[in-house]
Subunit: 208 residues, 2 copies
Amino acid sequence: MKTFSKNQLERYPFYLKYFKELQKKGIATISSPKIARVLGYSEEQIRKDLQAISNEPGRPKKGRSVDKLIDTLETFLGYRDSTTAVIIGCGHLGQALLNYPNFKEMGLAVIGGFDNNPSLVGTNINGKPIRSMSDLSHLTEKQKVDVAIITVPAHAAQEAIDEAVRCGIHGIWNFAPTHVTVPCNIVIENFNFSSSLAVLIHRLYDGR
Amino acid sequence: MKTFSKNQLERYPFYLKYFKELQKKGIATISSPKIARVLGYSEEQIRKDLQAISNEPGRPKKGRSVDKLIDTLETFLGYRDSTTAVIIGCGHLGQALLNYPNFKEMGLAVIGGFDNNPSLVGTNINGKPIRSMSDLSHLTEKQKVDVAIITVPAHAAQEAIDEAVRCGIHGIWNFAPTHVTVPCNIVIENFNFSSSLAVLIHRLYDGR
């Protein structure tokens, strides 16, 4: 099995986005040097990235087929499958994600939200029902839920994750700004404002 | 000048969060093996990370001073400075960020939002004024703005970023799910749901 670095995995959606723009413009083939100019990655990196998910070599003179690249990327990224997710914590950030228009094209079906706030439970946000946290196990008994998106405050994150794991959810996408732990069979990806901001601020004030 | 990898920079806020928890519990010193157990990084990585921002070596028997580590990290991460930011695009995601409670402790002062939606312009969100995009230059003439947080839809992102750059803003924190370009003197950090989701989904279905 091939292994992919985090940085490499993070580049694939950018390739896909760019190739889809080309497809929309009716452009049929694309070469690595052109991709390099637009996306700012090195040609060698691009060839390595695309080779890793496809067995078809680029043809130096003609480039690669845009349609085939899109097909390969969408399959690789799981956009063709349907991954189901619930949002735990329906405050401002959770509500923004319930309304986020791009998850569907990424193959992620957000099927509802969970919160303990009585003024939210029983309502709908963007057509998605908001249930009480104590109802999470009832949902997961009836329906497979792949991912719990954690948008509770930092102090409540570990408890929310523990409950999601108890309910049999294997993927945790943690937006809460804190360190949490999960059993080793659970996949967790931290999506952390503070980490991203640290990178930006450091570069902005580089050399201080 | 030391250089820091993106992955390394992303770890520092996790250290800081953890050390602050220790401080709250009254714990005065911490050793690398203990940090390793809690945060799940290797001891070698921890020593390297902390050494890179501090000249004080850890004392093998006693560990490092929690207070000093917090001080060093907060200074390094710029949490002691005040970085000013505006939010461009005040839809669901922009509003969630206008309401996000943790930016202040990260040294980021969000001073207002910009949008072209007439029903938003002139309102306040979480005490922050929402202005028309055409007013951005008026604000930046009067006040230094370090960072533009881009939360417009993908198709509007490049235009919003171009306008921020024209107004003299040097840092772009891009939440829009698309590839954008900036002049080489501008610092951009893409905070991309699709990239983070790609990592999660790939790990979740690893071996497909």
